[in-house]
């Protein structure tokens, strides 16, 4: 099932995202007041949170050009070294720009 990227379709997609996101914000409070969330569910959610990002990033590295790959590598390196997200993202973007300039 897909939505067309017309204004109506895009707004429907955004409203859907907003509803799903509110469901996650309120859902934990709602569920916890009835059944406690166990350690297994917690481990599944913690592992899934990072994994979905990995699943989104991996194709970018595989299908992207060398500028995109370099950007990801530089972001990774700066992030591991400094833990500063803004600096790491900026370094990645600058790396891609310089690579394509050259």
């Amino acid at each position: 099932m897909t939505l067309p990227a017309t204004t109506t379709g895009a707004i429907a997609a955004i409203v859907t995202m907003a509803l799903v996101t509110y469901l996650t914000r309120a859902g934990g409070v709602f569920v916890m007041s009835r059944v406690p969330i166990g350690p297994k569910v917690e481990r599944f959610i913690n592992a899934m949170a990072g994994s979905v990002l990995v699943a989104v990033i991996t194709p970018m590295a595989i299908q992207g050009d060398w500028g995109a790959r370099l950007a990801l590598l530089v972001t990774l390196a700066v992030m591991l070294a400094t833990q500063k997200a803004l600096g790491a993202i900026t370094a990645g973007v600058v790396a891609a720009a310089l690579w394509r300039l050259w």
Binding site: T2, F30, M48, S51, V52, A85
Partner: protein
């Protein structure tokens, strides 16, 4: 954990103090919002759609990831799955403060989590552990973050609409770099390497053999299941 005092209130004074305390931190959010605005325009969203997404969804990583699905058609099921999987941590955050919120009437209880995100939640939890009963940090901090996220997005929309070829300046990679930075910054725990490897491998396999965009769902589920293979975390053991 230190025992928390019973009771909870939500009032204007506490909310205003929450806004004030979050203000310095939320200035950083402007820059992330700017990056999102630029990235969204480069993926073909209109300025209005970009602002609407920041205002209604208000969850950076899922907004960036959703851009990856944007095209002439928007696949609905992957969009729902990606939004849920990235924001599923809210479930744990909400569950953690549920005993506190339970003192409030239902409208306030479910209203005060509308703008719950990582930093205002963390500061509110710290307040609670110090003995504070006022929830103003959660609500006020959320308001401060929401306003600056919108302001940043608006700046990004204004700035981004003046750029003809975003790829030339490397602006198309903002999305990937942002998500990677969130991934590395969120958890520095080697036990996550197995779930992440499972997610990467299954995502690549799904891209080759399964319908378009299903790799996100497959990777998220595979990673979650791989996470179950580990025994409970060491830190959860009761201290001697």
């Amino acid at each position: 954990m230190t025992p928390s005092p019973p009771g909870a209130q939500l009032d204007l004074a506490g909310t205003l103090s929450g806004i004030r305390r979050m203000a310095p931190l939320s200035l950083f959010v402007v820059v992330f919002g700017l990056a999102f605005g630029v990235a969204a325009l480069s993926r073909g969203l209109s300025g209005l759609e970009t602002m609407l997404m920041s205002a209604l969804v208000f969850a950076g990583a899922s907004q960036f990831a959703a851009l990856e699905l944007w095209g002439p058609e928007i696949p609905l099921l992957p969009l729902i799955a990606i939004t849920f999987a990235i924001n599923a941590r809210h479930l744990l955050m909400g569950a953690a403060i549920q005993p506190w919120l339970a003192y409030l009437p239902p409208a306030q209880r479910y209203g005060s989590v509308v703008l719950m995100s990582d930093s205002n939640w963390a500061m509110a939890v710290a307040d609670r552990q110090r003995g504070e009963t006022n929830l103003g940090m959660l609500v006020g901090g959320g308001i401060a973050l929401w306003v600056t996220w919108l302001a940043g997005t608006l700046l990004g929309v204004i700035f981004g609409s003046g750029i003809e070829e975003p790829e030339r300046f490397g602006l198309d990679v903002i999305m990937g770099c942002f998500l990677l930075a969130m991934l590395i910054g969120g958890r520095r725990d080697l036990s996550m390497l197995l779930p992440w490897a499972a997610a990467a491998l299954t995502a690549v396999a799904a891209m080759a053999w399964l319908p378009p965009h299903s790799h996100v769902i497959v990777g998220a589920l595979a990673g979650g299941l791989a996470g179950l293979l580990f025994p409970a975390k060491q830190t959860r053991k009761p201290s001697p």
